[in-house]
């Protein structure tokens, strides 16, 4: 295994320059250019099929750009282990016989290195990571016995144990009740002091405009990127979502996620 890449302290955590990505033969992302500063919390918003997951996979080093470039701390994503990625649908086997603490320890696998076993310091990092997301009482429980909200918190703890300073969360709020969403944001507020840069893919325009520093509005191309008030405008949303957007009289926005993406 090659050594993890050193960070360029002058470069922003994430910078994309005319980034295009193919997925299943089609261009899933076209000519994206943007930069994210340290500790910023970005909502990545767009209809289904807009390329949100593709973007995360490129940043995580799972997919390669077709053209253009993406840099993590000034270098290509291939050799970074500072990026924590929590996919939307659990990619793991729910019945796998591992405990919560073992799942969090998986975030330390590169730090520990090949042919070595976790040491006491690694386990205490796992414990403090679990404490940070309020899951310390669940450390010995099988991962499959947790609710999806609790699993999200465990995977966040995994990125904490990984010492990731860029965390990509693919629709972590979908399906969570309001208290669980609040807990999620409390954890993200706490992580911000790291500073940990967080990208969250979400369908919830109201959360995007109220709880995030910036919004990245995406529909294969970058529609808009910046402060929520400047980004979430009716014109931009119409461009991103077409006719599947409802604006209520009180200004609240609702995207018809049930129908969009299937036209």
């Amino acid at each position: 295994m090659s050594l993890p890449q050193q960070h360029d302290s002058q470069a922003p955590p994430i910078r994309a320059d005319r980034l295009s990505v193919r997925y299943n033969g089609n261009l899933a992302l076209e000519q994206l250019s943007f930069a994210v500063g340290a500790g910023e919390r970005i909502a990545v918003v767009g209809p289904n099929g807009a390329g949100k997951t593709t973007l995360f996979k490129v940043l995580a080093g799972i997919l390669q750009p077709a053209s253009g470039s993406v840099e993590i701390h000034g270098h290509g994503p291939g050799r970074h282990v500072c990026v924590g990625y929590v996919p939307q649908r659990a990619t793991f086997n729910l019945d796998f016989p591992v405990s919560v603490a073992e799942v969090v320890m998986m975030g330390r696998i590169r730090e520990i290195g090949l042919l070595r076993w976790p040491r006491r310091a690694d386990w205490s990092m796992v414990d403090s990571a679990l404490a940070r997301v309020g899951m310390q009482d669940y450390r010995a429980r099988p991962i499959g016995s947790l609710s999806s909200g609790q699993q999200q918190r465990v995977f966040l703890a995994q990125t904490v144990a990984q010492q990731a300073d860029i965390v990509l969360l693919d629709e972590p709020l979908t399906g969570l009740d309001l208290p669980s969403q609040e807990i999620m944001f409390e954890i993200l507020d706490d992580l911000r002091h790291g500073p940990v840069t967080v990208l969250v893919a979400t369908h919830d325009l109201n959360l995007a405009s109220s709880r995030f520093d910036k919004v990245l509005l995406l529909n294969r191309r970058l529609i808009a990127y910046g402060e929520p008030q400047a980004t979430i405008t009716p014109e931009n949303l119409l461009e991103a979502y077409g006719g599947h957007l409802h604006v209520f009289a009180d200004g609240r926005l609702l995207v018809d996620t049930h129908h969009e993406g299937r036209q």
Binding site: P4, A60, G61, G78, V83, P97, V98, M106
Partner: protein, 285 residues
Amino acid sequence: METLIAWLVEPLTYPFMLRGLWAALMIGLVVPVLGCYVVLRGMAFYGDALAHIILPGVVVAFLLGWPLALGALIVGVLAALAIGGISSSTAIREDSAIGVVFAGALALGVLLLSVQRSYAVDLAHILFGDLLGVSPADLALMAGLSIAALLTVLLFYKEFLVLSFDRVLATTMQLPVRLLNNLLYVLLAVVVVISIQAVGIALVVAMLVTPASAAYLLTRRLPRMMLLAAAIGGASGVLGLYSSYYLDVASGPAIVLVATAVFGLIFLFAPGRGFLSGRMRPGAA
């Protein structure tokens, strides 16, 4: 008590029984540990196919007068890498790729065997095992391969864990996913080769899957699952061999049937996850 000891010791006065017992114990202990990965990753078909694919290697080794295990090992490792290669580089699904290689290799093996005059006898041994025919050299080779396989699992335990649990995570953590996958495939080929001597090509999948599945019903921790699978496999090996001695039946099927019976008992009575406890649980359908 003395009759029990006499009952246990009597078969061991024959050197071939003693070697058979060592082989049964070793296979029973080692193969189910790798079998845990087979069960957790849903690779039972792969394990079964790998065993059958090895047939032409065994036959060619037999015709050339090589140690059978050597021919099996070469073909097994090649097949493991070929299947990994075919399914990752084309649109063909992995189970179809396995099916193509599996059937082709089995046919080739039987064809080669049919050229031989002693076809029937030897095919039975290869298909269903020949524990009592284990030579001291076979035993030494088995021991060497077993230790190598266990050591590799120990050394790469956490990498295999991440790879089996969540491949996306393994990729995000920049682990050498393809290399580790191939290493695991090669390890499976190695333990399949070890088990052929005991239970034969047709029943190898039982050693891979049955003890590990039984262990899975008893625990939700991988290290414990591996230990339990090894214990169930080892006990099945020894008990099966004694049964075959006293009942005068073939040893390979006897071992597999003991393991199957153990699985059946655990399936019925396992606390929490067994069939009966599932039925008794309030609210269960």
